[in-house]
Amino acid sequence: MTTRNTLRAAGLEIIKFLIIALFVYTAITKVRDFEIFRLQLDQSPMLEGLGDLLAIVIPVALLATAILLLLDTSQKFGLNVTLGLLSLFTAYIAIVLPFFSSSLPCTCSGVFEGMSWMQHLWFNIGFIVLTTIGILLAKSDEKILQLQPP
């Protein structure tokens, strides 16, 4: 394996590490502060009445995605799911931010508690960029594996 390929593989592992750490950490803190998370979702714009459902669906989706990334065979699918989830969260923040900035409760928890919604938006955009790079690296990783003799 060339140095370039080793760097690609290392880059992909670092990106997977960051996404898994973010998703598992977020899911656990949401479950830990379940009641607050549920109430905050319930009062969030466009999500009224969906707090009970989303408070369960979001942590489960985050943990399931982390497990997909854990397995080599499902990492490409996991990265695509990650991109989908992050795009969904980011689109929601971007839509509601200009209209509800003063009343929108922050559902951030743990070390992200002090983040403003604007910082949260940029943080998510950063992870979308990272995930996109990860998808591209996973594609080239696949091609290299196909080219390698059995």
């Binding site: 598992v24 656990i28 109430l39 003063s102 929108l104 409760p105 002090g114 403003s116």
Partner: protein, 102 residues
């Protein structure tokens, strides 16, 4: 390489789980935290509440009451005046109990 591919994601999981519990506030931490007397306006009447220090920020500190079925966020004030809002992050702090009533 195969081992690294399993080991690094597993390390991420362990790291995240550890971090999640490391940032958890213990009961002892909560007990020693300063609670401040603040005010909320409910149905045009001022009520006194005991609230943990709001996270400093550019927005108003908000509270929601755990027994409020509508989970309405109420603005927090330092005194019985609408001109004296308590600064916060805009994040709602959960207060145990029902919404204060007359």
């Amino acid at each position: 390489m195969k081992l690294t591919k399993i080991f690094i994601p597993m390390l991420a999981m362990v790291f995240a789980i550890g971090m999640a519990f490391a940032t958890e506030k213990t009961n002892a931490d909560t007990a020693t935290e300063d609670y401040a007397t603040k005010y909320v306006l409910v149905d045009s009447t001022w009520h006194t509440i005991e609230v943990e220090e709001c996270i400093p920020g550019s927005e108003q500190c908000m509270v929601i009451f755990s027994e409020d079925p509508t989970a309405t966020p109420y603005g927090v004030y330092n005194s019985r005046s609408l001109n004296d809002p308590t600064a916060g992050s805009g994040q709602a702090v959960l207060i145990e109990g029902p919404v204060p009533s007359n």
